[in-house]
């Protein structure tokens, strides 16, 4: 059970239980609403993944801090302090060892109270469903046959009611409830499941026939663990004076001498201690009712059976009775095994259902992240008469971190950005969303690309994104002066297709095709350090003049590292050739390059995002209509 406690800010004093997903923000639709204008509408969220709670920033303006560290995604620990703007929250989680919601802990004890005989009265192989396999002989009395029939009917009735429950906890409560009503003498029961990762026995539900069971420690002897978990047997024990007196004589004092050891894995049990008797339900001093079985004079009878599905033990069901007038018998054990078999199947179904739900949620997360990314990419090209702009963005199956943007800076100036966040997954997607927003803001306040890069770097470096960095190339295009000023931070070099080699005079008669030299590709190799590595590296920029018919191509490594089925990478050369051979302006050039990548890759799976941006002056011949929105986003 985890809760969020508001400690500072407008919501201070609020307590919010955390369930599978909790969105924190200013919007009224958030689970935790914070009335503070500096908090983003959807600021961050806390998601439960298995036993863990993970906080994720949702691209907030002012960031999400855990213990004063800016985080994008962070696994919360008890007592972590979360800060968003001026509001602080404390994450509280009760220890999840054992079964915290119940307050019960299972401990396996090495020795019985007296170290005496094993008080097991009867045992059967739980893998053989005795209700179905035990022979019914003609010599059986009518009563015996009626009883056998009744037992089968009970098993069927229980199976029918539990078969449709998909919530594991509800299912286990229901199973135990049935057990306590089927066995009239039973007054108390517990179902424990085996934790698949740790092998620990975890109490999942504890019930008394009347009222709630008090939280306490459930002690279980290695003998029982061995019988039920290892040998997959159902057992009856206790139930006569000899055993009961043996157990009661030990009292709580002898219990204290024992060293409880937590069960790690049933398989690793020390064979030397196996065979020691005793099951002590709970000698916890704070639990007087259960304790009386150890310290008082009352006698009891108990049964344990494994929850067994195809040879795998999912857990243990244990019920106990204080009514020694009718101790548990073989017939009861048969019935217990019959019900436990049905219960195990229902439990396995519920577990698989829960796993499916988690997988579905993860899939939705991936879709959400992709959706976020798409929204951060531009949908329409900037209308700049005489110029063409084109972009291609093909996301890979996994979430990548490619981004590009066209940022309008004025009637004759436009910012063109391309970049790639290292790594993959939700954190890369969120960082990509953040960095594109940041560039938009910086581009509006600064004009020099190198200053913009330096500021973006400073923000990224101080944000403490562990192991994440960004490569980016930012161009400011002046459509009037026909110049582009660019700063490249560790990104692939832009390629410029020159309609005319630099330095050659403008041809006197451009309409004579023969006078036109073949296009030349320039690679702009100057670059600075990628963003987010150093706090304040130096950034340089350079300015190039663009002529009629010149085309600039910027791309991510999804282009040059496109891999075909044979495992070969495309490389730079074919891209340069495609660019040089393309006829027409930026759109045609981009199409040619992308076509080249597609042909090369063939049917091989796409591992990386592929992004390319192309722009240039119209060729001077037929003017292309550039007012229509281009389609770069896959539907």
């Amino acid at each position: 059970m985890a809760i969020l406690v508001a400690t500072e800010g407008p919501e201070a004093g609020g307590r919010y239980p955390l369930e599978t997903i909790c969105i924190i923000g200013r919007s009224s639709r958030c689970d935790v609403r914070v009335s503070d204008p500096t908090v983003s509408r959807q600021h961050c969220r806390i998601v439960r993944e298995g036993e863990q709670f993970i906080i994720e920033d949702l691209g907030s303006g002012n960031g999400t801090f855990v213990n004063e560290n800016l985080v994008v995604r962070h696994t919360l620990r008890a007592q972590d302090e979360i800060r968003i703007a001026r509001s602080k929250f404390r994450f509280e989680e009760k220890q999840r060892r054992g079964f915290s919601e119940l307050g019960h802990i299972v401990t396996v004890v090495d020795q019985g109270p007296m170290g005496g005989e094993v008080p097991i009265k009867d045992r059967i192989d739980a893998a053989q469903n005795p209700l179905l396999t035990r022979e019914v002989r003609a010599t059986h009395t009518r009563d015996a046959l009626v009883q056998a029939y009744e037992r089968l009917r009970t098993v069927y009735a229980v199976a029918a009611t539990i078969g449709t429950i998909l919530d594991q906890d509800e299912l286990l409560r229901e199973i135990l409830g049935h057990m306590l009503s089927v066995f009239r003498q039973a007054d108390r029961g517990v179902i424990m499941s085996v934790d698949k990762k740790t092998g620990e026995l975890v109490p999942r539900t504890v019930r008394r026939k009347q009222g709630e069971a008090e939280p306490g420690e459930i002690l279980i002897s290695r003998t029982i663990v061995n019988e039920v978990l290892e040998k997959k047997r159902a057992v009856i024990f206790g139930g006569d004076e000899e055993t009961s007196s043996m157990l009661t004589q030990g009292g709580s004092a002898s219990y204290r001498r024992r060293t409880p050891t937590r069960l790690r894995a049933a398989k690793k049990l020390d064979p030397e201690v196996v065979g020691e008797p005793s099951f002590v339900p709970t000698p916890e001093p704070s639990s007087p009712h259960w304790r009386s079985h150890v310290t008082g004079a009352s006698m009891y009878s108990m049964m344990s059976a494994p929850l067994l599905v195809r040879g795998e033990v999912l857990g243990v069901i244990h019920i106990t009775s204080a009514d020694l007038a009718t101790p548990f018998e073989r017939a009861d054990l048969d019935l217990l095994v019959g019900i436990a078999t049905q219960a195990a199947i229902a439990l396995q179904n519920a577990e698989m259902h829960a796993e499916l739900l988690v997988r579905e949620r993860l899939k939705r997360d991936v879709e959400l992240a992709k959706e976020i990314q798409r929204r951060f990419l531009p949908h329409t090209p900037p209308p700049m008469p005489g110029w063409q702009f084109a972009a291609e963005y093909v996301p890979a199956m996994a979430i990548g971190g490619d981004f590009y943007d066209f940022i309008p800076l004025g009637p004759t100036r436009i910012g063109i950005l391309i970049g790639d966040v290292s790594g993959k997954g939700v954190s890369a997607a969120l960082l990509m969303a953040r960095i594109t927003s940041e560039f938009r803001i910086l581009a509006a306040t600064e004009s020099e690309p190198r200053v913009i890069m330096a500021k973006a770097n400073a923000s990224l470096a101080s944000a403490g994104y562990e192991g994440l960095f960004v490569t980016a190339c930012y161009v400011v295009l002046d459509t009037q002066a026909r110049t582009m000023t660019l700063c490249n931070a560790g990104h692939l070099p832009p390629l410029v297709r020159r309609a005319r080699p630099a330095g050659l005079p403008r041809p006197a008669a451009p309409h004579i095709a023969a006078a036109r030299p073949a296009p030349v590709i320039e690679r702009l190799d100057n670059a600075c350090l990628a963003l987010g590595v150093l706090d304040s590296p130096s950034f340089e920029q350079e300015t190039h003049t663009l002529g009629q018919g010149d085309v600039v191509l910027m791309m991510t490594d999804g282009v040059v590292e496109a891999t075909n089925a044979a495992g070969a990478q495309l490389g730079f050369e074919p891209v340069q050739v495609a660019l040089a051979e393309a006829q027409g302006g930026a759109e045609a050039a981009l199409n040619r390059v992308v076509e080249g990548v597609r042909t090369f890759v063939g049917a091989a799976p796409q591992y990386d995002d592929l992004t390319a941006v192309c722009f240039g002056l119209d060729g001077g011949g037929k003017r292309k209509d550039n007012t229509q929105p281009f389609s770069v986003l896959p539907e």
């Binding site: 560790g490 600075c528 590595v533």
Partner: protein
């Protein structure tokens, strides 16, 4: 496939990486990076002479080590980067951030004794 070894030379810790450092193998290296930082190693040489392939996650891991050791007022130097990793380092201009040396000996010698 990634293997890594640690070696102490004087007051310098040499971490040698062999094989591929990519999205698949980075999780194997991460606990080692955490160790180096929690042991407050301030003189670290990352030997990449046996590294044949690196991707952006791999670079991220080395950048993370670099930043965290720097935060302890220490330094990380890189030795022996060749082949594809060298190309990536050049592309990202990491030579502007990392002190890169041809051999471990040269990198170790750059730390004050």
């Amino acid at each position: 496939m990634l293997t890594f070894t640690k070696e102490v030379r004087g007051n310098v810790l040499v971490l040698s990486l062999k094989g591929n450092l990519d999205a698949i193998t980075v999780p194997e290296l991460k606990p080692e990076i955490d160790n180096i930082v929690s042991e407050r190693k301030t003189a670290v040489v990352v030997d990449l002479s046996g590294l044949t392939l690196i991707d952006s996650s791999g670079v991220g891991a080395i950048v993370s080590l670099f930043k965290r050791v720097r935060a302890l007022s220490g330094d990380v130097k890189v030795a022996g980067v060749t082949a594809q990793p060298k190309e990536i380092f050049r592309l990202l201009r990491l030579d502007r951030a990392f002190d890169i040396h041809p051999t471990i000996e040269e990198a170790v010698a750059k730390f004050p004794r």
